[in-house]
């Protein structure tokens, strides 16, 4: 099936539209409430990064596509910004567990949350940043076919 595509200006004000669309799509697919909340946060983290790091002039756009299948939903978030060391970023992403107060940073939780909340996180950095977030529909709530 054709994916559902959403394009928003690369500005924080429009990220809630991504959550709204995602909510509509994920509800249709039979995801649980908890899975939907997890995906909303993960997709927002990807969009936050696209706005903050992927749009140097904040004049660009962010392309989001939702790829539905019977078993999973893949959310692709694409910006036109500079590349970064995403392998290291994904590997080093970590929580605050076992840290000292003095070592806490107020940033750096985005990639960690995406990895924790989704089943799969892939980054393609060849031309802007293309981040793919995948979540499987769990057995008890799998897609009802029409």
């Amino acid at each position: 099936m054709n994916p559902i595509r959403l394009q928003i200006p690369a500005h924080a004000d429009y990220i809630d539209l991504v959550r709204l669309c995602l909510y509509g799509i994920a509800t249709k697919m039979g995801f649980t409430y908890e899975d939907i909340e997890d995906m909303k946060v993960a997709a927002s983290e990807a969009c936050n990064n696209a706005v903050l790091h992927g749009s140097p002039q904040r004049t660009g756009v962010i392309d989001i596509s939702f790829n539905l299948s019977a078993t999973n939903l893949s959310i692709v978030v694409k910006d036109q910004g500079p590349s970064f060391n995403h392998k290291e970023g994904l590997e080093k992403a970590e929580s605050l567990h076992n840290k000292k107060m003095s070592n806490l940073r107020s940033g750096g939780l985005g990639l960690f949350l995406m990895q924790t909340l989704m089943d799969k996180v892939e980054i393609n950095n060849s031309n802007g940043t293309e981040l793919t977030l995948t979540k499987f529909v769990t057995a008890q709530n799998s897609l009802d076919k029409e």
Partner: protein, 110 residues
């Protein structure tokens, strides 16, 4: 834009500064949250209380701001309490590990 997606209702007593958060705390409203914290985060003599009861959404933007509050209050050795965290938000606090640094106070406690 006027979406009123995030609101902060402030209650001030002799002992406490309470910020009641409601709606969606995301990147777009981070400046609004910073602005509300600014006059209270360095008041050492009062307990700073964040009440999350009506908060529907948070992500690393909001958690990052809470971490910065935690660090400022810790340095000042000033009391900081969080209250009434809804399950979906608690889950994110636990996953990120910020829970370990938060002191959850009950109503009638400062």
């Amino acid at each position: 834009m006027s979406s009123n997606k995030f609101q902060i209702h402030k209650q001030e007593t002799d002992q406490d500064n309470v910020l009641n958060l409601s709606g969606e705390l995301d990147l777009s409203v981070a400046p609004q949250f910073h602005l509300a914290l600014e006059p209270v985060v360095k008041q050492q003599e009062k307990t700073l209380i964040l009440n999350f009861k009506d908060l529907k959404y948070i992500d690393s933007t909001g958690i990052g701001i809470i971490i910065s509050v935690l660090k400022i209050r810790d340095e000042l050795q000033a009391p900081f309490i969080v209250r009434e965290i809804p399950p979906t938000i608690k889950r994110l606090f636990d996953l990120t590990g910020v829970s370990e640094f938060l002191y959850e106070g009950k109503e009638n406690e400062a």
